[in-house]
């Protein structure tokens, strides 16, 4: 009887593996086709190339980010796009984050009244300066979480569009220009999402991050951004997103107690739009690239993934209607259902399935060798799909990769489809119980 149960569980697990692999295959092909169409659009000037678009506020929530905050601000100051302000909200750091910003940019204390469109914790001090005609505002508050910090930033912003980032985000010189462009194509554009990755680009040559797990992350983020972004689905990774401020204020910003990730606000806004009818456009911009860099400590990466999944489950439960929105097109609806299945159930099936398989092997219910060959080809397929999508993205940007980096990439993609997926599934599993 027990043998039968484990055999069935093993076959369910294998069935899920096969289903997920074909799902990724279909969406990878469709994602690659969409990227190549977008590339053609850019090549043949099917874009609204403009000197200046709309002014926007970039809000950085910082908490004990002394290692990365200055690099982040300096990368923003070197952007081609010049019509924006930077708002740094320090969320009760107890390291040198604040003093580094104050000293580097010679900021002055001001008594600036702020309109509280959204209720937040109180702001202790406000500093301002202007560097290269870009206004930088630093707001100090007590520790209240990223969500509260972003809401403070929304209250302090002067411009009609806002983008939320963290101190470990690095934008390329033309990222903002690409991200803002869809706003001029229609008044109904509310959210523009960019593409996330890890690594660095210098003189059009891409290099992978040093840390091995970050190499795996580069592929994972790239895959999720493209596969979900192209079909209007909400990804569960940190992204660079641009929001129309009046819509953010209408939904009262980030929920209190949420983790302060863009996908939460996106889901909240989509839920609001679904209930209130009207025409709204959520645009994915594949060439608005943002690099997210993580520390080398695996434990902090593990904790961060758990935090993100907790936020994801919370926002999915709170804003269920987004999931079954009948207004979405058939492809997005199908994509949403598929990814919901993978996000929600796959980790449990994975964990139970692995145990069932081990039991099945030990009791000679399933032959070891055919299964190993199957597993090997499954891993190879996933790796080829992931690497292929990554190469499509590099083609879009006309980036080159040196041969040693290609080899690093192969190692990275192998890590992504094996150890990282397992690690990510465990994060999801634990996050569900924490949630």
């Amino acid at each position: 009887m027990l043998n039968q149960v484990f055999l069935v569980l093993s076959y369910i697990f294998l069935g899920c593996l096969i289903f997920s692999s074909f799902l990724f295959l279909i969406f990878t092909i469709l994602g690659t086709v969409k990227l190549s169409k977008y590339e053609k659009k850019i090549t043949f000037s099917n874009i609204l190339k403009h000197e200046y678009y709309v002014p926007l506020s970039i809000i950085i929530a910082a908490h004990n980010d002394e290692n990365s905050i200055l690099t982040c601000i300096e990368s923003l100051l070197s952007l081609n796009y010049k019509l924006f302000e930077i708002i740094v909200v320090d969320d009760g750091s107890n390291d040198e984050t604040v003093s580094m910003i104050l000293n580097s940019f010679e900021m002055k204390l001001v008594k600036r009244p702020i309109q509280k469109n959204i209720q937040t914790g109180s702001v202790k001090e406000i500093y301002e300066t202007t560097v290269q005609n870009i206004k930088i505002t630093l707001l100090l508050k007590n520790h209240g979480g990223y969500a509260d910090a972003y809401n403070v930033g929304i209250n302090a912003s002067n411009y009609p569009y806002v983008a939320f980032i963290k101190a470990n985000y690095l934008l390329l010189v033309d990222t903002l220009e690409h991200l803002v462009r869809p706003v001029l194509e229609s008044d109904d554009v509310i959210i523009c999402n960019g593409l996330s990755s890890c690594g660095m680009v210098m003189d059009d040559v891409y290099t992978f991050p040093e840390h091995n797990f970050s190499k795996a992350l580069a592929f994972s983020y790239n895959q999720e951004s493209i596969l979900k972004g192209n079909y209007g689905d909400i990804s569960s990774i940190p992204t660079l997103s641009l929001f129309r401020k009046d819509m953010v204020v209408s939904v009262l910003g980030f929920d209190k107690g949420s983790i302060g990730e863009n996908f939460e606000l996106e889901r909240k806004i989509k839920s609001y739009c679904y209930l209130n009818a009207g025409n709204y456009i959520f645009q994915f911009v594949p060439d608005a690239l943002c690099f997210i860099n993580y520390s080398d400590r695996m434990i902090s990466l593990f904790q961060d993934r758990q935090r993100i999944y907790r936020g994801l489950f919370r926002s999915k439960r709170k804003y269920k209607k987004v999931f079954l929105n009948p207004k979405s097109k058939l492809k997005s609806f199908f994509s949403r259902i598929s990814f919901a299945f993978l996000d929600r159930f796959y980790p449990y099936i994975f964990c139970v399935g692995v145990i069932a398989l081990i039991f099945s092997f030990v009791n000679h219910i399933i032959s070891f060798l055919p299964f190993c060959i199957f597993l090997f080809t499954y891993i190879l397929l996933q790796g080829v799909l992931s690497y292929g999508l990554f190469l499509s993205q590099l083609r879009l940007f006309h980036y080159h990769v040196t041969f040693p980096e290609y080899l690093k990439g192969i190692f990275g993609v192998f890590l992504q489809v094996t150890i990282y997926r397992f690690f990510d599934s465990c994060s999801k599993f634990l996050a569900f119980f924490g949630f």
Partner: protein, 376 residues
């Protein structure tokens, strides 16, 4: 177990196909690049010879024109042609403009071809024309008629590029007619984009302004806003006309706000009375009118304006107070007025004013003229 092997076989086939696909794409990219470079050299030779012919015999050979008619039907060839022509333009713009006039027949022919193609290709074709508007002769009405087809395309990029062609050409009639027809067909044209594109008009902007204002009431409100913004940014002096339109009170709220903003940079003494009325009459004019008016009054330095703005420092709306403080900081206030502000019981008012004018707390008797730019 047979199913395992079937799945394994399918997986292996997909892997091989994918790997071959990416290798194929990579090889195709390299081959394309090689042939593109070869074509680029060919087009460079062709255009170089044509430019030489132009210098010597003042016309481009029929053979070259037929070659262009045949080849530029394909968008990839058009792309290479545009690239090469842009290179030559950067070195010798006058001769290239002369060349464009000589090959206008080619583009007249191509406009008919590209009209039937996809929106992406149409948008690129109109983009090339917008870069070299002299390709089309002024008196060529048939091509202007053909371009109107591109103006009404479903693709916003095609419409934008077609409009840019008219702006760069400096064609008054075509610009006004196109805008009217886009407006009439309810096609989307961002007001910001429109006002910025109008600034790229290469003809007489004052004449264009007159033509647009002549039919102003025929446009819907987003177009009306864009026209006012264009007049404001191009330093068009239409103060009396816009003042009368504002007084008529028959336009959309956003249009009236754009008109009020116009007077921020175009001083007009007659508008002061209306501005003061807007600031005082809370029943007729809501906070949006007050905040834009408070901002626009920054250039109207007079005692009666000072008092109106000081009163605005106690307005219930945060942004009205902010704009009033900004405007006051640009004016020469007397000691009594400064004392009046610092003596206000409303802490929000003082807070806003001292934020804009930080030295005021230390110099409560000082009088300074200081300009601070804050967006509305």
């Amino acid at each position: 177990m047979n199913y395992f092997y079937v799945i394994i076989f399918i997986y292996l086939s997909i892997i091989i196909l994918f790997v071959l696909f990416h290798i194929g794409i990579s090889i195709y990219g390299k081959i394309s690049k090689f042939f593109s470079l070869k074509k680029k050299k060919k087009y460079k030779r062709l255009i170089s010879n044509s430019l030489f012919d132009l210098k010597e015999v003042k016309y481009v050979s029929e053979e070259d024109i037929n070659f262009l008619k045949k080849k530029l039907k394909r968008i990839h060839n058009l792309y290479i042609f545009e690239d090469v022509l842009s290179d030559f333009f950067s070195k010798n713009p006058t001769l290239v403009l002369e060349y464009c006039k000589n090959v206008s027949g080619v583009f007249h022919y191509l406009s008919g071809i590209y009209r039937e193609k996809s929106s992406l290709q149409k948008a690129y074709f109109t983009h090339v024309l917008s870069l070299f508007p002299d390709i089309i002769q002024d008196d060529d009405n048939s091509i202007h008629y053909a371009m109107m087809h591109f103006v009404f395309d479903s693709s916003i990029h095609c419409r934008e590029n077609a409009m840019l062609f008219f702006y760069h050409k400096g064609s008054y009639k075509q610009v006004v007619n196109s805008l009217k027809k886009i407006n009439h067909r309810d096609l989307y044209y961002s007001p910001k984009l429109m006002s910025d594109d109008l600034l790229e008009f290469r003809g007489d902007k004052l004449k264009l302004t007159s033509l647009l204002l002549a039919d102003y009431d025929d446009f819907s409100y987003p177009f009306q806003i864009a026209i006012i913004n264009f007049i404001r940014l191009s330093d068009g002096d239409r103060r009396k006309e816009i003042f009368h339109k504002l007084l008529s009170h028959k336009y959309h709220k956003e249009v009236e706000l754009a008109m009020i903003r116009y007077f921020a940079t175009h001083y007009f003494v007659d508008i002061i009375e209306l501005f003061l009325k807007i600031l005082n009459d809370h029943d007729t004019y809501n906070f949006e009118y007050r905040l834009v008016t408070a901002f626009s009054l920054g250039n109207y330095d007079s005692p009666v304006v000072h008092q109106a703005l000081i009163k605005c420092l106690t307005d219930e709306n945060f942004y009205v107070r902010k704009n009033a403080a900004v405007s006051l900081s640009q004016m020469s206030l007397t000691n009594e007025e400064v004392k009046q502000i610092m003596g206000l019981k409303d802490s929000y008012a003082k807070e806003m004013f001292t934020y804009i004018w930080p030295s005021l707390e230390e110099e409560s008797t000082g009088v300074k003229k200081k300009g601070v730019e804050v967006p509305c």
